[in-house]
Amino acid sequence: MLERYLTAASTYAHSIDHLFILIALVVGFWLIAAEGMMFALVFKFRAKDGRPTQYITGEEPQLKRWISIPHYIIIVCDIVILAGAVMVWYNIKQVLPPADVTVRVIGQQWAWSFQQPGPDGVLDTADDIRTVGELHVMVNTTYRFELLSRDVVHSFAVPAFRLKQDALPGRTITGWFRPNRVGTYDIQCTQMCGIGHAMMAGRIVVETPQDHAAWLLRNTDPPVAVEQAPAVSPAMGDSLAAMAAVRR
């Protein structure tokens, strides 16, 4: 259902989509039932001459049943939805599967920047690759991210992955994703972060192992480029410069 509107490109995207459909079916049924009941009653009991209103207190057992039985069924529905919600949540947010690669995601007014290990596969070494606005990842690889903010609260969101996590100044929040579909997807900031909020866009590029290896190679040549110029896309660079100008 969600995929009609937006690609699903991570392993857990489908579990969120399925939960969405489960909830839609359950609450959709009750919504239609309740709205239908209401309109039927309005039609059936519209004012007519010579038909007096009935005196009903709501204590009559045979009438109360019409409320209490649906109500018990709703409690069961709630439990079903909860079980689904907790299961999905647990798998996405509470467990950290063993990571193949760890990357660092840094939010600041108003750009996302990324730090990922170079050929040595270890973060915080001299060959780390730093980029702004673009994160290159390899398909079918489990990534752990360490999320930081340099200034205000941001939120790291990749709709195609169904991934969203706020970035807080002063702490490092870990999470994970495993892209399973090659392509380029949007990164959003979904927490109000100032006048450049709408400009705080990024791209996540999911590549085949060959393409990713080639990209890694491109970005580590010349070898040991510590203070390498970040790979800023022209559009991104313009908007950043504009933002910086506005900020004085």
Partner: protein, 558 residues
């Protein structure tokens, strides 16, 4: 200038601006709230124009820059919640109805009541004054998360941010004073014979809303002062580099912010209960059960706040607990809505304008209710959090509350407030125009939210997935529907002011209702009751077997 004119001027001032009469104060709140609603509605028009027709000159405003856009959405949210929903639903209806419906001459503390309005007016003026200061009004969202709200170089509106905070804090003071009054008056000043279970539901709900408000607002007042210190005297309560914690604000804010939803919901439910029973000519189905579910909702509303923070960086295990409590609250709310629907059974339903609004409230609020399940479920909230899905969801709760139920209340009590009937044809035109357009505004936004549109963004140009024409068509549809909905409000304004002079005289009890406010002249004189009434029965005795009339007023002896 002779002394006589001066005296008359003093009298007008005394009567309309310095009065302690609960009805005058109610009107002050009502008209201030309506004026603020026009401002908040205008802001919605401006930023929806930017979203529907990006980067074009908005008629009556000009170009919407990112900074202005942020300020507009922040002010729209703040104004609609704090300066429209609360003053109209709680203060205007509470002040007008409580003494009239419990059968006393005025509020328990009339001068505190006057002070409450004055502080409220001051808070509104402080808020509006932020449009005049350097940098303009605050633009960091109505939730004002620090460090953005705390640091001027982050939000670029240092003065506006402080004025916003001061205005909100003053508004809380006004409603604390009002809440004390509502609670004490209802508990102590009831007419002889009016037992706890004889109190009309709308009064119960306004009182419970006041209690919830007073119990939840304390932490946020403290938080507001801490944030004010962070802004102005460089403390570091929410600054991590000095040992503070930005998440603390989020907890303080939402500990109030979620109960606040029920603070405005309950009076709306109460208004709908009154209208529903009168126009269905029916006793409320399970009066006591409605009351018990209200208490349950009120209690549960204190333990759900962190569902606003599932992905905010709280301990992920906490999300499970708050998912459970959040879905739990659906149990009493569903019960309440079912009882309202059941009240229609066996009635004799008259579809006058107030009843149309009341039925529309139930029909639309149910959509708001069920879409909340998607967001209360932690799993789906990961994706839907901060998208237009949640915007559509809470507008399906707040529009029924602050617009639809308010219109139900105004059209229902207008004859009592002003002694004249509203025009029924204009009322129905206004109703259908508003409700139909409302759905066309927000159903497209459920879809754009599901497709990934995030909130508080003035342009989607930077996002390849979101700048597709199909999504832009939906945004434009929503904007056009908003224009339609707003233009139908002029029908209401015309009807409201035209009927003040030219409406049909209402008489004492035009709707043939049972509660005490309908036993006094319209509009009620100062002091309300010529002889203070005695109450003999509950509020919803319609169709009592063996009586010639189909209604049995509360004050008529057996």
């Amino acid at each position: 200038m002779n002394a006589h004119v001066e005296h008359a001027e003093a009298e007008i001032f005394q009567k309309y601006f310095w009065s302690t009469d609960h009805k005058v104060i109610a009107m002050q709140y009502l008209f201030t709230g309506m004026a603020m609603a026009l401002i908040g509605g205008f802001f919605a028009y401006v930023f929806r124009m930017q979203l529907g027709f990006p980067n074009q000159h908005v008629p009556g405003y000009g170009l919407v820059t990112p900074g202005r856009y942020n300020a507009l959405v922040t002010m729209h949210g703040s104004i609609m919640i704090f300066w429209v929903a609360m003053p109209v639903l709680i203060a205007a209806f509470g002040n007008f109805l409580i003494p009239l419906m419990v059968g006393c001459d005025d509020m328990a503390f009339p001068r505190i009541n006057r002070l409450s309005y004055q502080i409220f007016l001051l808070s509104a003026l402080v808020l509006l004054s932020s449009f005049l200061v350097k940098g303009g009004p605050f633009g960091g969202a109505w939730t004002a998360y620090p460090p953005l709200s705390a640091v001027g170089s982050y939000n670029l509106t240092p003065i506006g941010a402080t004025l916003w905070l001061v205005a909100v804090a003053l508004e809380f003071v006004a409603f604390l004073l009002g809440g004390i009054n509502f609670t004490v008056t209802t508990m102590n000043s009831r007419a002889p014979g009016m037992k706890m279970y004889d109190i009309p539901l709308v009064i119960w709900m306004i009182v419970l809303a006041s209690v919830i408000f007073m119990a939840s607002v304390g932490p946020l007042v403290a938080g507001a002062i801490m944030l004010l210190f962070d802004q102005t005297v460089s403390t570091g309560f929410f600054d991590p580099s000095r040992g503070g914690d930005p998440l603390l604000w989020q907890h303080l804010f939402w500990f109030f912010g979620h109960p606040e939803v029920y603070v405005v919901l309950l009076p709306a439910m109460g208004i709908v209960a009154e209208v529903l029973t009168v126009f269905a000519r029916k006793k409320m189905f399970g009066y006591k059960t409605v009351l018990y579910t209200t208490w349950a909702v009120g209690f549960l509303s204190f333990v759900v706040w962190a569902h606003h923070q599932f992905v905010a960086g709280i301990d992920p295990r906490m999300a499970n607990i708050f998912s459970v409590t959040t879905l739990l609250i659906s149990v009493p709310v569903t019960e309440m809505v079912f009882l309202y629907i059941a009240t229609l059974y066996g009635g004799s339903i008259h579809l006058d304008t107030p009843m149309l609004w009341a039925l529309a409230f139930i029909a639309e609020f149910m959509i708001g209710g069920v879409t909340g399940i998607f967001l209360g479920s932690s799993g789906t909230d990961i994706y839907l959090h901060d998208t237009y899905f949640i915007i559509a969801h809470f507008h399906y709760t707040f529009v029924p509350i602050a617009i639809i139920a308010v219109f139900a209340g105004i059209t229902f009590w207008y004859p009592k407030m002003f002694g004249r009937m509203l025009n029924e044809t204009l009322g129905k035109i206004h109703f259908w125009g508003t409700v139909a357009a409302f759905n066309v505004i927000f159903i497209p936004l459920f879809i754009t939210g599901t497709a990934g549109d995030q909130r508080r963004v003035y342009s989607y140009a930077q996002f390849a997935e979101l700048s597709r024409p199909a999504l832009q068509h939906l945004r434009t549809t929503s904007t056009i529907a908003l224009l339609v909905m707003l233009s139908f409000q002029f029908v209401f304004l015309f009807n409201f002011f035209w009927s003040l002079r030219s409406g049909k005289p209402a008489g004492t009890n035009p709707w043939r209702s049972t509660t005490l406010e309908w036993t006094v002249p319209s509009p009620p004189p100062h002091g309300n009751f010529a002889v203070l009434p005695t109450v003999y029965r509950g509020p919803y005795e319609y169709g009592v077997p063996g009586r010639a009339d189909d209604f049995f007023p509360q004050n008529v002896p057996d």
